[in-house]
């Protein structure tokens, strides 16, 4: 079980309020991702849940019980840190055993759990090594192993993949998702990378300056971003925003259209512009179009085989059914 409820939780460091009153419920078994730019309070929020920081006011409930004043160890949560926070002088086995040793668990039970975790995480051959002798991905797995053996009611991940290289990150992303499917335990995951959020989450919480901007499933956020911030944050490459005359045609202050919802053509279209940089990814090509008179740059996604060159004049047509409309305050206008 692991249903975490935040009830009007606030956090201030001195006079600065990092988290204004905030309500949030994380359902049991859910994979929730906190995402936002750096300094948005997402890590602080995670640390409040973990108990590593005290809340300034409000209540945190875990499975309905007030946990606001409960020390971190007693909350039944396990955390994986950004730096992995492995104990450098202990072997992998001892690292994984540490939480059980602190709980005075019988040795046989400890060994059983260590073996199970090591098998699940492909660490069996490394149990006698020190963390210093492991690669980044293996250290990450040890940190996860140390969390698993506690059989916590929820896992907390604080940007666990940010120290890994790109290829490894994709692999670990899959492994953590896989682990979540297998354990079906609540997981709370903090990241600044919207790709991680989109690919892993059941529920995404977009944060800015301590405020929750929107909560929803990845596709909800993609399809119906509640405001300009979420619209710009979710999706890669970023959504194009167009203001002024063109937006007025649609009765709004700003229109947003995603790069994948614009068709590019060499002969005809609604808008015209000049190709600037093009990024060829093989499967896709992203064109950055200038001199459209709409916005400084319009990003367009096209098929990998479309071959416009720098300086070519091109024509763009947005898919009108996929337009997002926003009012002067940046809030979404539903059709």
């Amino acid at each position: 079980m692991g249903r975490i409820t935040l009830d009007k939780v606030t956090k201030s460091f001195g006079a600065t309020e990092v988290i204004p009153p905030l309500d949030l419920t994380i359902e049991d078994g859910e994979f929730t991702v906190f995402v936002g730019p750096s300094g948005c309070g997402k890590s602080t929020l995670l640390r409040l849940i973990a108990g590593l920081e005290d809340v300034s006011s409000g209540q945190i409930r875990i499975d309905g019980n007030d946990a606001t004043m409960v020390p971190p160890a007693k909350r039944g949560l396990a955390m994986v840190f950004q730096s992995y926070a492995l104990y450098p002088h202990m072997s992998v086995r001892k690292n994984i055993a540490f939480p059980m040793r602190m709980a005075n668990m019988p040795q046989e039970e400890q060994d059983r759990r260590i073996d199970a975790a090591a098998k699940a995480l492909n660490l069996t051959d490394y149990l006698d090594r020190k963390p210093g002798q492991l690669s980044g991905g293996q250290r990450q797995r040890v940190a996860i192993g140390r969390a698993i053996v506690r059989e916590p009611s929820a896992f907390l991940f604080d940007e666990p993949l940010s120290n890994l290289d790109a290829a490894l990150r994709v692999g670990m992303r899959m492994e953590i998702s896989e682990l979540h499917k297998k354990l079906a335990t609540t997981m709370v995951y903090v990241t600044h990378d919207q790709v991680e959020a989109m690919t892993m989450a059941d529920k995404i919480v977009v944060l800015r300056a301590g405020h929750i901007e929107q909560v929803g499933s990845p596709l909800d956020l993609y399809r119906a971003p509640r405001n300009l911030f979420v619209a710009g944050f979710i999706g890669s490459p970023k959504m194009n925003f167009i203001e002024g005359e063109e937006a007025a045609k649609y009765d709004c202050h700003t229109i947003g259209v995603r790069p994948e919802h614009i068709t590019i053509s060499g002969s005809e279209g609604a808008w015209s512009g000049v190709v600037g940089v093009s990024e060829h990814l093989g499967s896709d090509t992203f064109f950055h179009i200038h001199e459209t008179g709409l916005a400084e740059t319009i990003t367009v996604r096209a098929d990998g085989e479309v071959g416009f060159k720098h300086g070519d004049r091109v024509y763009l047509t947005p898919r009108t059914d996929m337009l997002h409309r926003f009012d002067t305050k940046g809030l979404r206008i539903d059709a």
């Binding site: 020390p71 971190p72 007693k74 955390m79 926070a85 104990y87 002088h89 140390r146």
Partner: protein, 288 residues
């Protein structure tokens, strides 16, 4: 540093320092070794010729030799124990955020800047004097009989003085090490259910291991040769005659340079044994 040219240039530029250091070390060492094989009494006939290992035998068979080795080891051991234990505790304390941290840190480091002779004199006259010392007044205030520290408790007194001098050094190095501890490790341990004491034992202390070995190593080298503190306080009486002090007495008080030099060679051997020991421990610790 790769080319032939830059390497030879580097050698030439290093040469003066290397030659100076070598000369500085080798000349006195050679002279000590030469004197140790001679009967050399400056006030009673001067150089009286070679005597083989006579001085070595006499130095060791003298009734003062083993007690002096013991005194040396007791002082070194005692000071090490006190400075490491209190150094760790003080470092823990100073690592906490508190008001006036900067000033407190400077105050803690201050004793290290006081010269050994001065600090020994201060302790002897201001604190430990059996009549006018602060300790005597304190004892009298509680109705106790003042202790004449330097004669009744000579060894603890000297260990106390020397520890007071070296505690800042240990604290400083341990504090720096403590500050390099990744706070996420402590938080991870906290989440893993480790009590503050367990966190200290399992995380902080192992992290300090290397710094502690460095403190022990450096202090041992300096403590083996403490002299001023003894010279100023007990003059080697009341069981405080260390090996260094014994050599001093042989050379200057008995005016027997040959015998003192033989003692000096023993001291070199003793220091090297200790150093070899410690280097191995440090080496082992630096591996991980």
């Amino acid at each position: 540093m790769a080319t032939q040219h830059s390497r030879s240039a580097a050698r030439i530029m290093m040469a003066p320092a290397v030659i100076l250091l070598l000369g500085w070390m080798l000349v006195p060492l050679t002279m000590t070794v030469i004197f140790s094989f001679k009967k050399y009494l400056p006030l009673r006939g001067g150089d009286l010729g070679w005597v083989g290992f006579d001085n070595y035998v006499r130095f060791v068979s003298s009734s003062t030799f083993w007690p002096s080795v013991q005194a040396t080891l007791v002082i070194v051991g005692g000071v090490l124990a006190i400075t490491v234990v209190f150094g760790v505790l003080l470092a823990l304390l100073l690592d906490q955020p508190m008001w006036g941290q900067g000033v407190v840190r400077i105050l803690v480091i201050a004793p290290f800047f006081v010269m050994p002779t001065v600090s020994a004199l201060v302790w002897k006259n201001i604190f430990m004097d059996p009549v006018n010392g602060l300790f005597a007044h304190l004892w009298k205030f509680f109705g106790a009989e003042p202790i004449s520290w330097l004669s009744e408790a000579s060894m603890p007194s000297i260990i106390l003085i020397v520890s007071w001098q070296w505690l800042p050094f240990a604290t400083l190095i341990l504090l720096t090490a403590m500050q390099s501890l990744d706070s996420e490790q402590l938080e991870a341990a906290e989440m893993d259910g480790a009590s503050p004491l367990a966190r200290f034992g399992y995380i902080v202390l192992p992290h300090l291991g290397r710094a502690i070995t460095v403190v022990v190593l450096i202090q041992t080298i300096f403590l083996l040769s403490i002299f001023a503190e003894i010279f100023v306080t007990t003059q080697g009486a009341f069981g405080t005659r260390t090996l260094t002090y014994l050599i001093f007495q042989r050379v200057l008080e008995s005016q027997n340079i040959g015998l003192g030099s033989a003692g000096g060679v023993y001291a070199i051997i003793l220091a090297n044994i200790v150093a070899a020991f410690l280097m191995r421990i440090v080496g082992k610790n630096l591996d991980t």
